[in-house]
Amino acid sequence: MAIRSLSRQPSGVFWASWRDVFKFYFFLGTHSRRPKLFFLLSLVPLAMAIIFKGSQIIYGYPRFSGLFIYSNMIMMFFLQFLILLLTLFFGTSVCREEVEGKTLPYIVTRPLHKIAFLLGKYTAYTLLVSIMIIFSLTLSFIIMNLDRLGDLSLYKVLLRDGGVLLLGIWCYAALFTFLGVIFKKAIFFGLLFSFGWENIIQYFPGKTQKLAVVHYLKSLLPPLSQEGFPFLLFRLEPTPRGEAILILLGLTFFFLGLSCALFAGKEFIIEA
């Protein structure tokens, strides 16, 4: 290798840092094994849809319409389980995988703005999750509504549900990114939040349910039908849609801002 004098290179401005980090982690996300496993997991609702639809066609059971099953079971599976799990993994990974994988020295000794690094990686990973979820949601929706695909009004439901899930993904990912920056055991705290807090608080009566992120997501959806499920006594007291969207966006920016501020000022001790 010829040793040359230092040539002038483009300065590590914020935008260049964000762009290069985004490209790198999006590339890494499509080439690593773990994201591939999560992609397979994201296809679980698709498998559910195939089973439901197959059962309907062959045995005529369950008797509910495809749209009913989609809205009450498949969409809820996305909303209350899948996006939480995927954003938990990818969101906490934004910071934690560099510390636990001990690759942080490669990142912090490059001309990258720390905040741009965090935002670039958050965007790359959240976009990956969004693609996985929207892909699986669309296919599940089509399969469950095979007999009504010509009905254009149906696609409004898909657009609405896709939008709700995207809002949820970006909000949860921001929250889990924050947990990844502040906690060593971010996955543990994330699991407690996802499957403890979120799944309990949302069913509390009155204003308490507003302390769960999922409350605002559910506020954007029509109330769940209790047809066939008369034992369900929990009642959502929805927040107006505009307010719910603003709160979700506010939470996303709040947790991202907090993550950036903490990440930029924090030193991470990588143990040999």
Binding site: L6, S7, S32, R110, P111, A272
Partner: protein, 309 residues
């Protein structure tokens, strides 16, 4: 000469644990060896001057600028960490190219540089293999590759010879010397004195988080030569050898060990002793199994120098 790295009363504490204490040092262009036993504070010092750690007290300047949260300065810095960690799902080629992309090089330029440095470090043939299938020595060379591929003015190598075979070591030592000759500043840490000796004559001795001494390597050599060395020799006819060694003025003591084929010799003039030992081995036609120096590690030398022993 201008200072490349300058620290002023630099200290680092990990909670109540001292990592580095009151270090004021100026490093100028060329190769500088950072020498100290394991746990001396070498890595802490290197992490502080690469902005990975924030000083608890004092300040660090690289090229006259503060380094903490100053991304622009990293165009001019290359860092090879001690830790053997990578993005495991990438090939050597992908890793290096992407690391160059993170330096904001355009795709074509990143490819060219990655190819050049992989060829230079004899990794080009294995460039498409996943890093996790690389040997330790290959991974070590890859870490060095990512530290030099963007041609920084300051290269910081934390224990770069770990895991390398003798041939690999020679190549890396030659590379480091060459970088120094070209006017780049290379800071190399090691706990093995001969490794540092092979690269440079300028050293900084670090021990228990403090700079113990700095300057020419002959200085530390002289210090070490005042330290009595114990050399263990395993061979046949050890008593015959002991009888011959007793007559040598540089030998202070001879110990017999429970092993009937081993003696330990204490000397204060190591180099002269080794010359004489070689002659005696040939003269007596001894079958030598091993010659080792049980206390010839830096910790023992440092302990002796600071008066702990």
């Amino acid at each position: 000469m201008r200072a490349v790295v300058q620290t002023e009363k630099l200290s680092k504490y990990y909670g109540n644990v001292l990592g580095l204490s009151d270090v004021s040092v100026t490093i100028e262009p060329g190769v500088v060896g950072l020498l100290g036993p394991n746990g001396a504070g070498k890595s802490t010092f290197l992490k502080l001057i690469t902005g990975q750690l924030k000083p608890s007290l004092g300040e660090v300047k690289v090229f006259g600028q503060p380094v903490w949260n100053n991304p622009h300065i990293f165009h001019q810095i290359g860092y090879c960490p001690e830790i053997d960690a990578f993005f495991p799902d990438l090939s050597g080629w992908q890793f290096l190219k992407e690391m160059l992309r993170l330096h904001h090089f355009p795709e074509e330029e990143a490819r060219r540089r990655a190819e050049e440095v992989l060829k230079f470090l004899h990794l080009f043939g294995d460039k498409d293999r996943l890093i996790r299938s690389y040997s330790r020595g290959m991974r070590q060379r890859l870490k060095i590759a990512q530290a030099i591929a963007h041609e920084p003015q300051l290269i910081i190598l934390d224990e770069p010879l770990n895991g390398l075979d003798p041939l690999g070591r020679r190549k890396v030592i030659r590379l480091i010397r060459r970088l120094g000759e070209k006017g780049q500043t290379v800071i190399v840490s090691s706990h093995v004195l001969p490794e540092i000796e092979a690269m440079t004559k300028r050293i900084i001795l670090i021990h228990q988080g403090k700079i113990f001494a700095e300057g020419n390597i002959h200085y530390i050599r002289d210090l070490i030569d005042t330290h009595p060395h114990i050399i263990s020799i395993k061979c046949d006819r050890v008593r015959e050898l002991a009888a011959a060694l007793v007559k040598e003025p540089e030998v202070i003591k001879i110990f017999f060990t429970p092993d009937p084929q081993e003696i330990q010799v204490e000397t204060q003039q190591r180099d002269i002793f080794f010359d004489r030992l070689q002659q005696l081995i040939l003269q007596l036609d001894l079958q030598v199994e091993a010659i080792t120096s049980p206390d010839d590690n830096l910790q023992a030398v440092f302990d002796y120098l600071i008066g702990e022993k």
